[in-house]
Subunit: 196 residues, 2 copies
Amino acid sequence: MTSAMTDNSTPPETEVLSLLPARLRAARRDQGLSLDAVAKLSGVSRSMVSQIERGESSPTIATLWNLTRALQVDFAGLLEGATDAPGIEVLRDASVPTINNKGQGCSIRILSPPEEVGRHEVYDIRFAEGGILDSDPHKRGSREHLTVISGIVRLKAGTQVELLKAGDTARYPVDQPHTISAETGPAQVFLVVQDG
Amino acid sequence: MTSAMTDNSTPPETEVLSLLPARLRAARRDQGLSLDAVAKLSGVSRSMVSQIERGESSPTIATLWNLTRALQVDFAGLLEGATDAPGIEVLRDASVPTINNKGQGCSIRILSPPEEVGRHEVYDIRFAEGGILDSDPHKRGSREHLTVISGIVRLKAGTQVELLKAGDTARYPVDQPHTISAETGPAQVFLVVQDG
DNA sequence: GATTAGATTCCGAAATACCGGAAATCCGTC
DNA sequence: GACGGATTTCCGGTATTTCGGAATCTAATC
């Protein structure tokens, strides 16, 4: 058969899988390896490597995994779309998207682009005195990285509680309910959410 | 046959693939979906989904891809090791590791743990008037996310130049030389480096 | 131009991923 | 405890991946 790739559910747009063959071949050639060499390194037969590199076969994750280890490429990055923007994108102070109706007495300024899902998001959060931000658990494995710019905040993650003042930083898993509050006065924090 | 997973080249340690079935099943159950439901959503048959979730079959990347889209999980993250730390880690203002001898007139406060390489790093950088931080290109695909806390800074990435003041944010690729400088007075910026 | 060494592609045969329907298992409800 | 309804697993058959070897292609050398 001519095209073995079962590309059902493949709208015109994101055929990320079609990029994989070329990337694999490039990775191999970059290291000056022959098909036979990677075959011995990975345990995948030469013919299979050849077919995969020509897009004539859709490898099982097991074999792909073995290939990535032999070629020393990152399994994850291999399947990601070419995500490179050309130049500097600037988001001016006045035009930062802001959410006010979440939590109480706090405004959330979204500093990362909405498209960029799956890696990390960046927020600038400003609390009035007594402001509270309550969050439900995110996806398992996610972590937050919180740095206090000014004021004093109280951080609660699961059962644990910490008091943080300007300059302090806290990191914590967020597969559990967590709360940030500014009890003693206004505060500003910088929050990086790393998706799990 | 009982175990179809071709697990050749599988040292005792990182059998990341063995985690995949459980993760898929968890993702499905979290959304309250039945095998039949995801089958219709993804185009993969119920039986296949069942087999994959029980580790009795190693899916091709094509079918796995379809599953990830139906379950709305990140293909990349699915294959990464479980990276969860137990509780809140706190880094106090006074004990933040700081670098002063890089660049001129600037001190770099490292807010992310050194172990956590490969995802993102977080820095709090403080410039004296005239301070300059020159950086060589990082790994291709890396991006920086810079937010100005106070003062005015000049950002140069490749050939492009932008002037940023307090509250402004800039995002830019760093597979090219880039420079941050505070020409008109002291400044403080927050920098998130996303590894490519 | 012929020879040789290396790399890649082609070709059965065996293994296994994949599908659709049937059987089995799990629950609530009467 | 028996009866739906829903979910999951089992069981054919088919399509595709995967392997090892043979054939083809590529280039350098003589």
